[in-house]
Structure formats: C-alpha cells, structure tokens
Amino acid sequence: MTILHWIGESIRSQLLHVPLLTARCLFVGLLLVLMGWVVMLPSSQTTPQGRKFEWYEDLKIWAWVALMFQIIVYCSF
C-alpha cells in the first residue's frame, strides 16, 4: 500500500461513518446557506441600475425560487 492508498483509505473510512441522512442534510444545508446569502445581497447587485424597474426584475426573487426548487428536489429524492 502506497502513501496515496493510505490517504485515500483513511478519508474513505471516515466518510463511511457519515450516515446518508447526514449527507443529505449537507446537500440541503449548502442550498439553505446560499438562500440566506441571496436574500442578504444588496439590491444594487440584483436589480437593473440607472432606470426604474419592476418587482419581477429583482434577480433575488428568481435565484431564491431556483434554490427553493432544489431544496424540494433534494428532500424528495
């Protein structure tokens, strides 16, 4: 066994201890963190600058919808 095998096997044995439910929570957690980040983005980064805009032009809403859909998917499958 080489040093590379030893490193790989050590990481693998640690990961084997992680229950699949926890792994799924990590997937959903990543998406939730992104949702929180999107909500906190300043509107200057999510709306057109230098002109009036409609509510549906705020990208925050659509980014949030895209992430919400992902969360539903990863909770379902």
Binding site: M1, T2, L4, H5, G8, R12, L15, L16, V18, P19, L20, L21, A23, R24, L26, F27, L30, L31, L34, V38, L41, Q45, T46, T47, P48, Q49, L59, W62, A63, V65, A66, L67, F69, Q70, V73, Y74, F77
Partner: protein
C-alpha cells in the same frame, strides 16, 4: 434502430433551414471583430440564458445521460441540479459581473491582466487543445449515435453537421451561436418533454411509473422485494431501517448515494467534487460557457442570464434522466452494457412518425448548440490569446473579423479530420475526453479564484500552481490506470469506476495550495495587477 419516414425528414429539414436562416440573419449585422467574438456586447439575458443551457447539454450528453440513468438511476440528475444551480448563482452575483466589468474577451486574457502572460499561455493553450480535439470527438460521438438511432452514415453525419455549424458560425460568430442556441434549446426541451410525457402516460402515470422502476431495478438485481416504492416511502419503519443500512429504497430513485456505490456519483464526489469544484470551474472558467455572458449588453443582463439559466436547469434532469428510467421499465432485459442504446430504442418504441423527426431534430439541436459553442470559443482563444497577442498586436477590427472567420474554417476542417482519426477508438473516445476535460477544470478554477478573490496572490504563484494542478490530475489518472497498477503491482487508488470528480478535487487543492504558498513567500505583484481582483477593483477607475 429507429425508422424515420418522409414526415420525420421534413421536420428535420424545417429545423435545419430555420437554424441556417437565423445564423445568416445575425451574420448580416456582423461588421467587426468585436461583433464576431462578443456579438458587439449586445446580447439580452434571455438569449444568453437559454444559450448557456443549450450549450451545456450536448447531443452526446442527451443520449449518454439517458443511458447512464438506465444504468445508475436518478443520481445522474445531480450533474444538472447541485452540479449546476449553486455554481451558476454564485457566478451570477460575484464572478460574471466582475469579468464583464474587466471588459475581457477570454478567460486567458483576464489571467494575463491579473497575473502574467505565462499564465495566459498555459491556461489558453491547454483549453485550446482540449476544445479543438473535443470538436472532433463531439462530431464523431454524435455521428455514432445517429448511426445507431437512424442508421445514418458516419461520414454524412460528421461532414454534414460540421458544414452546417461551420457555415452559420462563420457568418455570425457568437451572435449566431447564441440566437441559434435559443431555437435549439426550445426544440431540445420540447423534444425531450414529449418523450417524458408520452412515456409516463404509457406506464400509467407518475406513481405507477415510480413503482415500476422500483420493481424493474429489484428484478435486475435478482432481489425478491417487489412492494411498490410509493408504499415503502410511506412506511416509516422501512425508511428508518433503510437509512440505517445506508441503502434507501432503491439507488435508482435516490440522488444521495453511499460512498461505495458503483455509480460515478457517491455523495462525497458529488458534494465536494462536483458541486464545489467541477461545477464552479465549468461555469466560471470554461471559455465556451462564459463567452456569451461577456457579450451581454449590460452587467445586469450578464447576471440575469445566469439566474435564468439556473431556473431552466431545474427542469433539465427530468427531461434527460427520466427517459432513461422509462427505458428501464420498458426494456428490463436490455443489458446494462448496452445502456447507451436505451434512448434510441425508446424513441423507436413510443414515438409515432413525425414525432420521431422532432426528437431527432432535438438531438441535432443539442449537438449543434454544443459544437458551435466549442468552435466559436476555440476560434476566440486562438485569435485573441495567440494570433493577436503574439503575431498582430495592432490588428484592427476588420482584420480580426477576417482572421476569425478563416480560423473558424480551419477548426471545422480540423474537427472533421480529428473525428476520422478517432473512429478506430469507437465509443470510448467520448468518455476519455470528458475525463481529460475534468483534469483542466480544477486547476483553472484554482487560479481564477486565487486571482479574483485575493489581491495577495501573485503571477509567480499562479503559474506553478496551475501546472502542479494539471500534473496532479494527470498523475492520479495514470496511477489509477490498469497498466500502472500492473506495472507497479498495486491496487486502484479509487474504488469507483469513473473517479474523475476526485481527480478534480485533488487538482484544485494542489493548485490553490501551491499558488498560496509561493505567493506568500514571494514579492507582491504591482498594484496595476491587483486592480483586477474583486477587492482591488474601484468603480471610479473603470477598466477600459
């Protein structure tokens, strides 16, 4: 094999004629190199967003993912969901606007401004070679699928597709690529949706379909469990026990699979390799993808295109993965070794004449939308990062347009030549080149993140960082090969069949580490270089 009638061919011809018309219409507005390479920075978000998605789903992906879904199940959806959406949204609000503001045409050009010409040449050179070869590989792989699907001659498919794509890309450059992608995206989504709706209806609806997948998988694995999956999902004891055993329901209906799964998607590879390395590298560092956003008419359009693309990505797995699962139920005796033929079989089985033509048009649309993007991106890197940079630094816009069009012709010829050279390799060539592409994504992401997110990283750190990352992924690939294992008398480094996501993780980590260490101990770059990082950029000193 699917039998196509004259109605099917009429549908296909109508699609091809419309594509060419759009290409020539856009081409009539092209007057300069800037128009050719960045569509004169005039592209609206909706066109760029659809183009991003259409480019990402190639014809070979369409059939290949269907086959992989037949073999491995829903896990392949990860490549479109968590393997795209988070990275696209982070790119939309951080990286794309910054690159757009830097007014660059290519990623290697940005890397020279931020670091040095060495980094530009290294990154540009590697991507150029890969993209040029990938052109031929995509042409060949798609011709092979068309041969299986409709018995089309290999040469007719290779030369026909290369000619059609070459003509409209030659005429309209990036603008033609993006606007034809819009049509191609709509046809691709429509064609796949048709198969999903008809297929699920034939299987008796969604719940019946899920149950039949469950039964088909268990029958294939010689298990006796045939209780409907929908009942099992509502059985709390079963769910608890299944999770405790790290084996919920059937793997075919789960996105999160155990570490030792046979599929290419164990959860650590998907989360750490795909979601955190390969996907950001692809959506931020792949010239083929990012070029259309750099051609957006405003910074808002550049951001919105990625958000729109992320929304569309939400539905794509249902369109490319579900057909594979429908095929699993309909052809339970089809060997997993022949999973690549699942989709052509399904098309022949469930679609009536006329609709088969729409699906073939959808396949061609997926294929052409990827080939045209790689053709245009390879041309842009060659002309901007090599021809103009080293040979004609003072070339005017007219000369750039002319050389851009000649280079497009050159790459079309190269693609056809390379496709013919690869014919003896058969079906393995596509997966081999996808693995090679994954070698580059991690190191590219490493130097890009180092350059954009830090003012302290230097050109003296980025160059060895990128080279080390490339060497890492290449070495892991070689050491994991059967030949090296026999030669060195050792076992495989990775336990899964296709560990390319793991190569990317290690290559990325090595790139970032070497870049950081060398930069820390070396002298800082000039303040001019730091202006190109996110924190060094000042709106009042807009970059021209």
């Amino acid at each position: 094999m699917t039998h196509l009638t004259s109605i099917d061919y009429l549908v296909i011809l109508a699609y091809l004629a419309t594509t060419m018309a759009i290409g020539f219409w856009v081409g009539s507005y092209v007057r300069s190199g800037s128009d050719f390479f960045l569509a004169g920075r005039s592209l609206p978000w909706w066109a760029v967003g659809m183009s991003l998605v259409a480019t990402d789903i190639g014809g070979t992906d369409l059939v290949g993912v269907g086959g992989d879904a037949f073999r491995y199940g829903m896990v392949m959806g990860n490549f479109e969901w968590i393997g795209c959406v988070p990275a696209m949204l982070v790119a939309a609000f951080i990286f794309i606007p910054h690159l757009w503001r830097c007014k660059v045409t290519t990623i290697p050009e940005y890397l020279e401004r931020r670091f040095s010409v060495h980094v530009r040449v290294a990154v540009g050179g590697v991507w150029l070679v890969l993209m040029a070869c990938n052109l031929g590989v995509m042409l060949l792989a798609s011709a092979q699928f068309m041969h299986e699907l409709a018995n089309w001659d290999l040469s007719v498919s290779i030369i026909g597709v290369a000619l059609l794509v070459g003509i409209y890309t030659w005429s309209g450059g990036l603008g033609a690529v993006v606007y034809t992608d819009v049509l191609q995206g709509v046809i691709m989504i429509g064609g796949c949706l048709m198969i999903v709706v008809i297929g699920i209806a034939k299987l008796g609806g969604i719940e019946s379909f899920i149950d039949k997948v469950h039964v088909a998988v268990h029958a294939r694995e010689n298990k006796t469990e045939t209780k409907p999956a929908t009942e099992l999902r509502n059985d709390e004891n079963y769910v608890e026990q299944a999770y405790a055993e790290n084996h919920p329901f059937t793997d075919h209906l789960s996105l999160v699979l155990p570490v030792d799964t046979k599929s290419p998607g164990p959860w650590p590879a998907i989360l750490f390799g795909l979601a955190l390395v390969v996907s950001p590298g692809y959506w931020i560092g792949n010239q083929c993808i990012i070029q259309r956003s750099l051609g957006s008419k405003t910074e808002y359009d550049a951001r919105a295109s990625y958000v729109y693309g992320a929304l569309l990505k939400g539905i794509i797995p249902f369109l490319v993965v579900i057909p594979g699962l429908i095929a699993l139920v309909m052809f339970p005796n089809l060997s997993v070794d022949k999973a690549g033929g699942a989709l052509p079989l399904l098309v022949g089985e469930i679609l009536p004449e006329g609709l088969r033509g729409i699906f073939v048009a959808a396949f061609l649309a997926a294929l052409m939308s990827s080939v045209d993007s790689y053709l245009n991106a390879a041309t842009t890197i060659y002309v901007n990062d090599f021809y103009r940079r080293f040979y004609r630094p003072h070339a005017d816009e007219g000369q750039m347009l002319l050389i851009g069009r000649w280079t497009t012709i050159g790459f079309v010829l190269w693609g056809v030549y390379f496709a013919y050279q690869m014919i003896p390799m058969g079906h393995t060539v596509y997966s081999l080149f996808q693995t090679l592409m994954s070698f580059v994504v991690g190191p590219t992401l490493g130097v890009l993140l180092a350059g954009i997110l830090s003012t302290r990283t230097t050109s003296k750190g980025a160059f060895p960082g990128f080279i080390s990352g490339l060497m890492t992924s290449t070495s892991l690939f070689v050491l994991n090969s059967e030949y090296a294992q026999r030669l060195l008398g050792m076992g495989p480094l990775f336990r899964i069949d296709a560990p390319y996501l793991y190569y990317s993780i290690w290559a990325f980590l090595v790139t970032v580490s070497i870049t950081a260490i060398v930069s820390y101990f070396g002298r800082p770059d000039s303040p001019e270089k730091e202006r190109y990082s996110l924190w060094g950029y000042k709106p009042e000193e807009a970059i021209e």
